[in-house]
Amino acid sequence: MRNKHATQLIFELSRAGRSAVSLPTADVPQQPVDQLIPERFLARTAPQLPEVSEPEIVRHYANLSTLNMSVDTHFYPLGSCTMKYNPKRNERLASIAGVVDVHPYQSESSLQGLLRIFFELQQMLEEISGLDAVSLQPAAGAHGELTALMVAAAYFREIGDNRTKVLSPDSAHGTNPASARMCGFDTVTVKSTSDGFVDRDDLISKLDESVAVLMITNPNTLGLFERGIAEIADEVHSRGGLIYLDGANMNAILGITRPGDFGADMMHFNPHKTFSGPHGGGGPGAGPIAVAEKLTPYLPVPRVARLETEEGYTYRLDWGQPRSIGRVRSFFGNCGVLVRAYCYLLTHGPDGLRSVSENAVLNANYLLSRVKHFLPVPQGDRCMHEFVASAAQLKSDTGISAMDMAKRLLDYGFHAPTVYFPLTVREAVMVEPTETESKEMLDKFAETLFRVTEEAADLLHDAPHTTLISRPDEVTAARKPKLRWQPSAED
């Protein structure tokens, strides 16, 4: 329960002389600091960090936590984010000694268990993707995109093919064009048809010998399986280009179809979505990538290799890839997230994973069938793991916008769906229930959403009404940025 007294910043709780730690005195002979470090290197002033006791810290953060909605406490149908349940066993197992406390530069012989986990995870992701090799190094989905584009760029450089463009549909995540630009490519947007698929004529008109990669999300951000994906891939491949699959929506197709089988040459996984890694209030994620054989030599190093010896298997880090693009981050990868993904995959097995996708798609279609009667879903009656409704008609009839609905849902104890994305749908309301919700919860959500559409517009413009704060002034926040606490301004 929220404590109404807990409204201060931790800096405002600070009192000189309070402390939450008591450190030991040094057990070695001590020398004056300025004899070890010359004066010119030493700080003249100390950082003004808060001075607080341990109980204050616990109460401060425990109270702050009650101001968040989370998967542990609320239905969180945030489209494109796959806010599924985060299994507690994975949290525990990623925190055991021998996993959580190992140093990244320990010898391979002291890490055989962990290297085996990563080798097996590489194998599992190869199988799920239908591709040939996996790098676990990228730290997030967007990082995986960038890494794969670097791999593609290295590949084209090596075969002497000067390709300058990356195509992506107008419904793509913003990370796609942003990653392409960071990798030095020109970005070209491909239109979608009114029913939500890639506009083939537009694509073909933009396909030429300068196109390196088509980045595509499948199922796409409208929650539709791109039916013509094989033909699209053929068109791109026939002109020497590569297909990149944004794996954000893998939760819909586990064990049903594989990116490698529908034409992708490279892809990333989002283990923090598909494989239940918690989102951590914004991160960490991880962004392992899988690629086709011809791109394998360019993957970042190291990857984990397995050797068969007389005593059984041994695992080692494979650095011997002279054509590798190098490194995209320090050390091995976001291992804690990867260990959770490994545990998730072992918990499910092949049948369980397929069941995840079947139930994610069932839940989304069920919710769609209930919502479409009062909130049109422009792209039709069926979806994969998510759907995008439009509040455009509602807005012109009643003045209630997608944002109003989102904010009002918070009053009723639901996290809002994603709104205003994808950009191709006006007043978009993007709903992804995931497989870890019950029919009762979906019913309750649909009923609440309907109720919201019936409410007075004026009430909704000011929503939410029950939360601690409502409709913050974001314009002022951006015009006069106040990005840190300052003692003078507060006193």
Partner: protein
């Protein structure tokens, strides 16, 4: 299934409501020719008990600082983590929430991030911090990319060889497809060769990337370096160890323009290299070029103080290919842990931790100077790690034998610095004891190299 609610009856009722005969029919949009016609070839499902035993068995095949004395550093450190950090980080309301796009139901995260930004600004003496990047290495390359944008110089960036070799590799990987040249500044005596630096500075140089304390543990002559780099119109991108800032002059005070670093030391377990958190802070005037998420203070419609994600027009979900970076996720959970760590430490705790590292490192270094077999390579002031040279040029064997004797004795340097193949990097955090340091020296004095040709 552990996490799925739907019973066969639920599924039937839902299919009827949808108007669909079977779950299979829901996938009609996926052409048969593209379907996987067999089960995935994955291990069979394990229950929680089996899985727990399986992981325990795998973990038992690893060693760790729990059973082996750890002098490994080089960017990841065995610092103590107070219990209160784990407590806060394991609250589900924090770790199972998403990016705070709905501020009304995310004030906990947003306020915590605003506090984090303030603490990072305090620690670095910079004006603005973001909410963290992936890790120290990726923050470093983002800092370098930012310097290109800010200065509008795209010719070259200078990178000191005393910067973490993996960070330098990342810079090279990112810049490979772009037109900017990466120029290495040699560090023959363990720190930046200032004459070489002056020679390489040009009017199309965007920045010098330096690390202080550097990868070898040595302190760089930052004041002199900043002066010459600024005089050439280039920026200083400084890689920091946050623990060192309990004692050392803060980067904003010596004139750094962009500060980056690995935040792992602030309450994040080593977990084989990640997830960690990339620190990044800069001057006010660069804020609109800063990548990553930023929390800002504002008021709500009732006039209450509150926090939101702000300056989002820098970001990919708004600006797409014009964004300052493709970064989407941050390391929110570990930024939160860093905040709790810094709050628990306070200014005095930070000073004490830094001083413990310094004193213990000085002790170890003095003992090694007196040892027969080992010598300290660079005669420079160091903070919590330093380079040791093995006079018998048998680093690999020495480290392997030390490990058998229960000591992770250091990180060999030959992989990155062929000239330093007879050297290793030795780190001493506040967790190491005099007894452990003595045990290492005892091991070295008793250790005999067999069958190895002595180099000198």
């Amino acid at each position: 299934m552990s996490y799925i609610y739907n019973t066969p009856e639920d599924q039937q009722a839902m299919l009827e409501a949808i108007g669909c005969g079977s779950i299979e029919e829901l996938f009609a949009a996926v052409p048969q020719s593209l379907r996987l016609q067999r089960p995935l070839q994955l291990p069979e499902a394990m229950g929680e008990l089996q899985l727990t035993d399986h992981l325990a068995e795998l973990a038992a095949q690893n060693r760790s600082p729990a059973d082996t004395v750890c002098f490994l550093g080089a960017g990841s450190y065995d610092h103590f983590i107070p219990a209160v950090v784990d407590y806060v980080g394991s609250r589900g309301e924090f770790y199972t929430s998403y990016t705070p796009y709905q501020p009304e139901v995310s004030q906990g995260n947003l306020q915590a991030m605003f506090e984090y930004q303030t603490m990072v600004c305090e620690l670095t003496a910079m004006d603005v911090s973001n909410q963290s990047l992936y890790d120290g290495g990726s923050a470093t390359v983002e800092g370098v990319l930012m310097s290109l944008d800010v200065t509008r110089r795209r010719g070259r960036v200078l990178v000191a060889e005393s910067v973490h070799p993996e960070f330098r590799q990342i810079v090279e990987t990112y810049l490979a497809p772009l037109e900017t040249e990466v120029v290495s500044i040699p560090c023959p005596s363990g720190v930046i060769d200032q004459r070489a630096l002056a020679d390489e500075l040009s009017d199309d140089t965007a920045c010098l990337l330096l690390q202080h304390p550097n990868f070898f543990g040595c302190l760089e002559e930052v004041h002199q370096i900043v002066e010459v780099v600024h005089a050439a119109g280039a920026l200083i991108v400084s890689v920091v160890d946050p623990i060192s800032l309990g004692l050392l002059e803060r980067p904003g005070d010596y004139g750094a323009d962009i500060v980056v670093g690995e935040g792992q030391s602030l309450g994040t377990p080593m977990q084989y290299g990640g997830p960690y958190l990339g620190l990044m802070a800069c001057r006010d005037s660069f804020v609109r070029r800063l990548p990553g998420r930023i929390a800002g203070q504002t008021v709500d419609r009732r006039g209450n103080r509150c926090w939101v994600l702000t300056l989002q027009t820098r970001e990919q979900h708004i600006r797409r290919d014009k964004a300052t970076s493709n970064i989407c996720s941050n390391q929110g959970l570990f930024a939160l842990r860093a905040s709790v760590y810094l709050a628990a430490m306070g200014p005095e705790g930070m000073r004490k931790v830094a001083e413990l590292c310094l004193q213990k490192t000085a002790y170890a270094r003095q003992q090694i100077i007196e040892s027969d077999r080992l010598e300290v390579l660079f005669d420079r002031p160091v903070f919590k790690e330093f380079v040791i040279r093995d006079r018998e040029n048998a680093v690999e064997e020495l480290l392997a034998d030390a490990e058998r004797a229960g000591i992770f004795a250091g990180v060999p340097l030959g992989r990155w610095y062929p000239d330093l193949a007879d050297c290793f990097l030795f780190a001493v955090t506040e967790r190491r004891t005099r007894r452990q340091i003595d045990r290492f020296l005892q091991f070295v004095s008793e250790h005999t190299t067999s069958g190895v040709t002595h180099a000198k």
